[in-house]
């Protein structure tokens, strides 16, 4: 099965913002950084499952909206001193279209 799925255009995601991809196995948060990189992580903070998609994005990091843990978007790891990790998914952008790899879902 092809694991790469088209999810929409880059323009649909605000810069320094995010959108959600809904799947049968939970939501995935899609982030766009100020340099137009796209990251996808499971939309659940390792702390108490806060919706990371609703956090403030800065650099390659999102601050969780519930209790302000900081999560590295490229690795899914919480920045120290907090500990924990959320799943990440590979992404790519082709001609302005965002694709995400759901193999590990």
């Amino acid at each position: 099965m092809s694991e790469w799925v088209e999810v929409g255009s880059l323009e649909q995601i605000p810069r320094l913002g995010s959108r959600i991809v809904q799947t049968g196995k939970g939501d995935i948060a899609l982030f766009r950084t100020s340099r137009d990189e796209i990251f996808a992580v499971r939309d659940a903070c390792p702390h108490k499952q806060g919706p990371l998609s609703q956090g403030i994005v800065h650099g390659n990091v999102v601050t969780c909206p519930l209790h302000s843990w900081e999560i590295d978007l490229s690795s899914g790891e919480a920045l120290p001193p907090d500990e924990g990790c959320t799943n990440t998914f590979a992404t790519r952008v082709e001609k302005g279209v965002v694709l995400i790899n759901l193999a590990s879902l």
Partner: protein, 815 residues
Amino acid sequence: MSKDKLVLVGNGMAGVRTLEELLKLAPDKYDITVFGDEPYGNYNRILLSPVLSGEKTIDQIMLNDLEWYEQNGITLHRGKKVVRIDRTRRCVIAEDGTTAEYDRLLLATGSSPFIIPVPGHHMEGVLGFRDIGDVDSMLAISKQYRRAAVIGGGLLGLEAANGLLQQGMDVTVVHLLDTLMERQLDKTAASMLQRTLEERGLKFKMEAETEAILGEQRVEGLRFKDGSQLEADLVVMAVGIRPNIELAREAGLHCERGIVVNDTLQTFDPRIYAVGECVQHRGVTYGLVAPLFEQARVCANHLAEYGIGHYEGSVTSTKLKVTGIDLFSAGDFTGGEDTEAIVMHDASAGIYKKIVLKDNRVEGAVLYGDTVDGAWYFQLLRDGTDISEIRDQLLFGQAHLGDSGHGGENAAASLPDDAEVCGCNGVTKGDIVKAIVEKGLFTLDEVRAHTKASASCGSCTGLVEQILADTVGGDYSAAPQTQPMCGCTDYSHDDVRNTIRQDHLTTIRAVMKTLDWRTPDGCSSCRPALNYYLLAAWPEEAQDDPQSRFINERAHANIQKDGTYSVVPRMWGGVTSPAELRAIADIAEQFEVPLLKVTGGQRIDMFGIKKEDLPAVWSELNKAGMVSGHAYGKSLRTVKTCVGSEWCRFGTQDSTGLGIKIEKMTWGSWTPHKFKIAVSGCPRNCAEATIKDLGVVCVDSGYELHIGGNGGVKVRAADPLCKVATEEEALEYCGAFLQLYREEARYLERTAPWLERVGLAWIKENLVEDEARRKALYQRFLQAQKIAQKDPWAQIAGDRQESGRFAPIKIVTDA
């Protein structure tokens, strides 16, 4: 590899705490089996007192529910009493025959209330005060009968008596000696305590020795040695506890008053450990949790075979858990020949403090009425600190030392990091501050969860809250001039704001470039602040940046812990109509809103709304004429009103009408932190105007204005600003004050700390004494409102692209 077997007898506070500590160190080392003769999981026995007085429920005092045992793979035999230990076959046997083998055995059987063996002590209606069963019985009896006698005027007896009093019983405390709590208090403090309790309705029979309990089948009264009698339908014995040692004794373990253990909490049989009230260590038995938890820590360490840590005994301190009575005692306070006591007694204020010194070190302390410094004295006592340098100020408390004090207001700030705050769990101030800072804690519950501070008896709650307010608040407000805004820059809030004004900067990027920000996009603390400063300085030019706002302000709703949102429509001045209520009801049904709640701000909160439904909910509310209540914003929240002269027999002015006018003028304005207003119709102040950021209290001759009140973390009564004669003036002052706050306060600084920083006099100079300045501020406010006062809900719901972003970008169905 098969695991070793650990059996715990006694499912109480000390035993289970040992397991918790053990699971932290070596989660997989043992197969654990627990026997407890009570039919519950593990609960906080200390809090039985508040359960009895009705301040807490049984559910609230559960520490580990059955799920916890399951999750940790622990077999729990509830309601089973162990009757025999077979040390040769290494197993324990319960009453019903259940058997469990052990490699290591832990005894934590606690103790039982001592029941004085006077005639009649077996009668119905004679109880101890030890477990949930006792509390249930007392509550049941209190519903049916009226008179209670509590034998024993110690800590436990007084808490029982207070609880029964709260349940509506007529309670007499019977005490053998002439002073209450003689083990913890000196005569003066004891008599102050007795007087206060008498004022609350408790009765005392002092120097009375019970000779017999009267009655046939159920108790009817008490007879004392001097021949006098007391009628009673309930007798609670609280005269002391006896360690439960029979089980150990019959197994041949060496026992004296308690099960004798060494410094590693091992009994005479090295496979068998014991902790809690049932043990005797270096000749001492304990009846408070703090030492038991210390034992638990050491015992767990040895069970985990780490082999470090010795228990060397504890010094204890006590507090009485009767709401509204502050009492603290520690160490030896009676004083001997070579000791001296320094005493402060302010009878009219109900304050008494006595510190006993020996060789310039604290030996003991008794505090009544003002116990804020208890933790500090206890610290000096345990550390054996030489106090000769600070002797003169000792009684005034720690806040008076050096220049760090805030006039005694904030004891937490001046506590050293190693001062113990929570005596029950041995948590220091340093532990708490570290957890707050590192884990980003904001609530008392979070601090409890992370540190266990204030999670047991709760009497340090006030201090923990102060530390919380202090630590979190330190970040938010009152930041010293030199403190950088955040890790992204060396510039302070004031530097940044001045640069924005002087260099006419209008975008976040421009600020970051001008001031050499270290990070490309800033962080979640500086971006919202920059966005605010720009909007406040250049309301007509700066563009709002939604991505630099906290989610609540971006989604125009409050995020909840499960990721759903709450929606609060504005209800002008707290006034509503059948049509509005009907619309709210219809919308709640249409969107299956799980909870409708009336807020503390006089309006209705709709909880549990999915993000993608928000625009639709808003547009329905808009149709019924309602707009956003900004319950999520650093902005005007509510204008609370009372009914005032239109209806109330005491009302002097139309407080409701004025409140609505003010709300219509001020809604939608962004401020450094949230801003709350209230208008009361007379000095009875039913709208609580004097704990609001701006409060109006109507009087016959006009309107009194109050500013800088706060009812939140740290309650602060507002300061009177001035009195005005007309509604127009009230509106003008209100707008001008909001504008001054908006232009001058730092981001996330509420009016209360801001006012304390700049001073009331300075605010009066600007608003009251300088009419021209006031009018200019008011004009600027009205000008900014022309731009800000747009309903964000209508804007988003009416904009396809904007509202589309509330829904998922894509729904993948086959994954």
